[in-house]
């Protein structure tokens, strides 16, 4: 007699927990909706809230970062790199860069400016100003972006490209294109340490080009 209410309570509890369980598939169906994968929107949503603050906080002055990167990439990586990078990938560093534009290639759609940072008249870094941009340095500089969080390498790559596209659209397309030599450039961005490269190729997240001298 005493047992009966206990059993019915138990049955109710089981009933509730089963009902609660049923919610889960709905959620996972949402999360696994590959058709809804929209990298451009994902980047737009995190850009101001997470990406730029992260880069601002992590970035080191370019001369310091690059000097350390050339002598001790692991030490530079520990300080300015993404600690969660893929094991065999080169380091990607977050940098702040300021200097004078000593050369510009705006003939190519992958346009670049060469910047002299230390004032010796020679270029120290090449900065991409789009519209076509190479690599995935912005994506690869972020410690909160993981390949394992993506369904496959296509999604991961498109997410990488979306960073370039967003920077291109919101920042770089507004930069001047003519008579760039002699002007100042101020950049917050990232570059990947690659061998056999004549100049480090920096992808900007923020960029300013000063007035004509």
């Amino acid at each position: 007699m005493l047992n009966k209410p206990t059993w019915s309570i138990l049955a109710v509890t089981v009933g509730i927990s089963l009902t609660a369980c049923k919610i889960l598939p709905t959620q996972s169906a949402d999360g696994g909706d590959a058709a809804a994968f929209n990298p451009d929107k994902m980047v737009e949503e995190i850009w101001a809230a997470k990406v730029v603050p992260y880069l601002q906080q992590k970035a080191g002055p370019f001369p310091e970062v690059h000097a350390l990167a050339k002598t001790d990439p692991a030490a530079a990586g520990a300080k300015y790199g993404n600690p969660n990078k893929q094991a065999n990938s080169p380091w990607t560093f977050t940098v702040r860069l300021e200097g004078e534009i000593v050369a510009a290639n705006t003939q190519s759609r992958a346009a670049t400016v060469d910047v002299d940072v230390d004032g010796d008249g020679k270029a120290d870094a090449r900065v991409q100003i789009g519209p076509a941009m190479r690599g995935t340095a912005l994506r690869d500089s972020l410690d909160f972006v993981q390949f394992n969080d993506f369904t496959n390498q296509i999604d991961f790559a498109q997410f990488g490209k979306a960073f370039n596209a967003y920077a291109g659209k919101t920042v770089l397309s507004k930069l001047p294109r003519d008579a760039l030599e002699g002007r100042t450039a101020k950049i917050l961005g990232a570059y990947t340490l690659e061998s056999g490269q004549d100049l480090p190729l920096v992808t900007p997240a923020e960029a300013e080009i000063g007035p004509k001298p």
């Binding site: 065999n88 992958a110 390949f147 394992n148 496959n152 790559a157």
Partner: protein, 313 residues
Amino acid sequence: MKLTRRMTLAAFAGMLALGTAAPAYAADLIAIITPSHDNPFFKAEAVGAEAKAKELGYEALVLVHDDDANKQSELIDTAIGRGAKAIILDNAGADATVAAVQKAKDAGVPSFLIDREINATGVAVAQIVSNNYQGAQLGAQEFVKLMGEKGNFVELVGKESDTNAGIRSKGYHDVIDDYPDLKMVAQQSANWSQTEAYSKMESILQANPDIKGVISGNDTMAMGAYAALVAANRKDVIVVGFDGSNDVRDSITAGGIKATVLQPAYAQAQMAVEQANDFIKNKKSPAKEKQLMDCVLVNSENAPKLETFALTN
């Protein structure tokens, strides 16, 4: 067969219970399963994995599934039956392979995947794959540069059923489509085949004599296309491939094909065996299941350093 398998499993379980101090019964065996060795790429994987397994004191069981999912399933049974401690696998299909790898896992045999991904996580211990997309972007950037950012071109695509064919094509277009003066006049699949690429290239060339470049989803098709171009006296056409084979290396150094992209097949297979070893001996899984390995551009500057899918320093 079934009895043997049961007994092996029992022995295997018993050994697990005894711990690592037990003498090697089947403890020493690592199974290495890849597509056919006819393609030097897969051969390099098998050779790399076998060499590393032996170096670490294992016996190696080298098998080929010929891109047949049923055969792959049987070979996994064989590996389980032989008491393999781990399986190194370049798989025969992103979906079809999931069940086979799960079967091995249920039998206590961990799998370490190389080259191709599967559409599931948590089944294999590791999936070490070439970053085909990044590699394709490298190849396409070089192609764009060689083309001077303009002109008509042809794309040869790989076997449609192979995930990597689609990934490479997407990677190529990801870069090339940013240049409106580059115009694709033909896009055809030659199914990774050299002879098929030769005949396709012949007919494409007849319909489009004004082409300036060919970008190919792999090296064997690049070789076929280039041979057809030479036969038509069109050595001026720029050809770029993908894989980093010795054949294309020789063509690059002889001034034929202009560039390819190296997939580190040998190093990848060795890395998988190292991770398997760590798992067997220390019960340690790699930090991440899915691991991407970057590809490297090969052109006339570094081609002489290329040998059997590895660059020497």
